[in-house]
Symmetry: C2
Subunit: 153 residues, 2 copies
Amino acid sequence: VAKERFFEDLHVGETFTSGTYEVTAEEIIAFARRYDPQAFHVDPAAARSSVFGRLVASGSHTAAMTMRMFVDSEIGPTDGSLGAGVDSLRWMRPVVPGDVLQLQIEIVKLRLLRSKPDRGIVTLKIDTRNAAGEAVQTLKLNTIVPRRDGRGA
Amino acid sequence: VAKERFFEDLHVGETFTSGTYEVTAEEIIAFARRYDPQAFHVDPAAARSSVFGRLVASGSHTAAMTMRMFVDSEIGPTDGSLGAGVDSLRWMRPVVPGDVLQLQIEIVKLRLLRSKPDRGIVTLKIDTRNAAGEAVQTLKLNTIVPRRDGRGA
């Protein structure tokens, strides 16, 4: 049975921790070859003489790894929920091979739309941290969640 | 020789068009299996009974394909430039197998930071469109670009 969750079940200030994601050089390079082929993402030798001094993950890759941890988390998508967009996304620190990432997720806003009585918008602040607890990325993600009392409206 | 571009070369209102990116079911599924394994992104049969009625690309995947077209574009990264973050990202229409995507990119803001005299922040509005010209995603991306007259500062 799929997870079921409604807008009314959620509260501002609730927090969640995801599982972890181990970052490998192989995956950094494979992702970046296809989606972000800059030297410091695809070429370990060239990366050493770059501003980062070593191979680092593409920001798009960090965002994608974050999505996977979010999807697998307790507050991840359920039947009827949808991603609506991102309010802000910042990359604060490099993500490097061997990093073990984990998310700290907080519900920061709940909104109802008059035009859509059967659903609400949930804004989540999703911090992606490395094993040292340093935030490598912070993200505000808007998701659409069905309302329990809006069913059939 | 790597492309060279400085903050002083850029002007608000300048526009650029990227190359194209053809979306396949195989890539939609491969990306989503790893980064966003929701049924409507990984399972064509289950997708038919979903809200989308068909297999659709993960929003993270659309963002990653957008990054690839941006990197390959005339206004893409050059030596010394870096992605700083995203101000907003919205997914407006589903991206489906067979779509041919292309970017319309506009410089919408140029900022100098007193604390960083050797570089500036360039805000780009990046619209990802399908072959019908419909925007499937819109993104405001901040990039850091070196200043010509800041070298050695």
